[in-house]
Symmetry: C2
Subunit: 254 residues, 2 copies
DNA sequence: CCTAACTCCGTATGCCTTACGGTATTTGGT
DNA sequence: ACCAAATACCGTAAGGCATACGGAGTTAGG
C-alpha cells in the first residue's frame, strides 16, 4: 500500500476533521460520502455482508453502479467507512460504578451493537482502519478501567479480552437467530427432524458425557443453545478472573 | 430443508458408518468423496475460503467443474464436510493433570488447529453440521472437565466459553499474520508510515489513556498487537474465574 | 469563451455457483 | 449376446459479482 493510498484512506475516515477536499471544477456530486455510507449500512443491515454489493448501494441512491466509485475507491474501503460510522452511533456515557459494572456496560454495548449490525461480525479487516469513532470508543473503553489497578499492558489485554469474547458470543447468537429466521424452522423443530437419524448414527454408549450434558442443557435452555445465557456466564467468569488478578496482592499500584 | 436433504447431508457426513451407497449401474467414479474433501482442504489451506471455489477443487483433481457436483451437492455442503474432516486430524489424547491443565490442552489444540486451517474461522455455518469427528471432539472436550465439580450446564457453558474465546483470539492472530504476509509489510513498518498522518489527526490531548497505553503496549510487544500473548492472558483470567466458581463453597458436588 | 477537471455511466473482462441437457460408459436383466 | 437403465462426466448458459477503461455531459477558472 502506497503512501498516497494511506492518505486517501485516512482522509476519508477523518473527513470531519479534514474537510472534504472537493476540487471545484466539474459538476457537484449529487450526494455526500455520508449518504453513500448510510446507504451502505442500510443495505448491509437488511441483507448481510455477503449479499452487500456496490450495485445495491447505487440502486438505493438512484445512481448507476459505477458512480459509487467516484465517492469511494473500493468496496473494502466503503465497508471500512461503514464500520467507523457505526462505531459512532452509541453515546459514550460517562462511566459510573466500580470497574466490574463499567466493563459490563462496555461488553453489553458491544453485544447490542453486534445485534443491531450483525454484518460487523463478517467484516474481515486486513489492516484495521483507524477512524475517529473507533478511536474515541477505544479511549472510552480504556477509561472504564483506568485506576482500577491494572498495568497499562493489562488494560490493553483486558479490553481486548472483553471485546474478543463478546464478539465470539454475539457471533454464535446472531448465527442462531439468522438461521432460525431464514429457515423458518426453530432449533427445536430442527432437532426433532434430525434426532431420529442421529440416534441411529450416534450410539449413546459412544457419547456418555455429551449425551448427558446435552440432555440437561436442552431441557434447561428449551433449545439446543442459549447464547445469551452463555454470554452472561462467560462474562461473569472473566470478571471473576480479572478480580483475582487485581486482588492477588503481588501488585503494587503501578 | 426437507427430510430427504437431511438424510443426504448426514449420510455424507457419516459415510464411514453408513458405507457409500454406490449404485452399481453406471461407470465408477474416478475419485472418492474423501479425495474431493482433501482436495478442498488443500485449496482452502492455500488460498483461504473467499478464494475457495469449486473450479479450483476440480482443477486439482483433473476433473471439470461440474463433475464435482456428482460427489457433493453444493459448495456449502463440501465445506461442511471439510470442517468435520479437519476435526478428525488431531489425536484425542487421554486427559492427564488437573482440570486447568486439561482445559489448557483443549484450548491450545483449537488454537493450533485454527492456525493450521485458518479458513475454519471464515466458515459461516448456518446450521451446525453434526459429524462424527466433531461429535467425538465435543465428547473429549467435555471429558476434560468431567468430575471437576461443574454442573452439567456449567460444563456446556465452560467448553463454549473456552471455544469462543480461543476462536476470537485465533481470529485476531491469523488476521495479523495474513496481513503481514500479504502486504509484505510488518506491523511496525505500517505504523511508521501511518504514525505521522495519525499524529496530525489525533491530538494527544483527546486520547490521553489510549495514547499512554498504546505506547506501553507497543514497546512491550515490539508490535501493535501480540495476539499470542493476549490469548495466554485471557486464558489465565478465564481459568482463574472458573476456579472461583468451583471454590466459592456454595456448591454441593452435583 | 474556452478548456481543464470533474461526475456519471455504458461496456467489457473475468471471476463465481449452479441448473440443465447431452454423451459416453457400465451393468442387470432378459 | 444384447438391450435398457443408471450413472459419471462435461459443455453451455444464466445470473450474480467487482472493477478497469473510456466517453459524454457539466461546471467554473483563467
Amino acid at each position: 500500500m502506497e503512501n498516497r493510498d494511506v492518505d486517501r484512506t485516512l482522509s476519508l475516515m477523518w473527513r470531519r476533521v479534514l474537510g472534504t477536499p472537493q476540487g471545484s471544477r466539474g459538476p457537484k456530486q449529487r450526494f455526500s460520502v455520508d449518504e453513500v455510507i448510510r446507504a451502505g449500512i442500510a443495505v448491509a443491515d437488511e441483507e448481510g455482508l455477503p449479499a452487500f454489493s456496490m450495485r445495491k448501494v447505487a440502486d438505493r441512491l438512484g445512481l448507476k453502479l459505477m458512480s459509487i466509485y467516484t465517492y469511494v475507491p473500493s468496496r473494502d474501503e466503503l465497508i471500512g467507512l461503514m464500520v467507523d460510522e457505526v462505531m459512532g452511533e452509541p453515546e459514550l456515557t460517562p462511566h459510573a460504578g466500580d470497574w466490574r459494572e463499567r466493563l459490563t456496560v462496555v461488553a453489553r454495548q458491544m453485544w447490542d451493537e453486534f445485534h443491531r449490525h450483525p454484518w460487523l461480525l463478517q467484516v474481515e479487516q486486513s489492516r484495521p482502519w483507524i477512524g475517529p469513532n473507533g478511536s474515541d470508543r477505544w479511549e472510552w473503553q480504556l477509561a472504564a478501567i483506568e485506576g482500577a489497578g491494572f498495568t497499562d499492558l493489562e488494560m490493553d489485554q483486558t479490553i481486548t479480552l472483553i471485546g474478543d469474547f463478546t464478539g465470539a458470543s454475539a457471533r454464535a447468537d446472531v448465527a442462531a437467530l439468522r438461521t432460525a429466521e431464514q429457515s423458518g424452522i426453530t432449533d427445536l423443530e430442527w432437532w426433532e427432524v434430525n434426532a431420529p437419524v442421529l440416534e441411529r448414527l450416534m450410539p449413546p454408549a459412544a457419547y456418555p458425557i455429551s449425551g448427558r450434558v446435552g440432555t440437561t442443557a436442552g431441557e434447561e435452555y428449551n433449545a439446543v443453545r442459549d447464547s445469551e445465557r452463555s454470554f452472561r456466564f462467560g462474562l461473569e467468569r472473566i470478571l471473576d478472573g480479572l478480580e483475582v488478578l487485581l486482588t492477588s496482592g503481588r501488585r503494587p499500584r503501578s
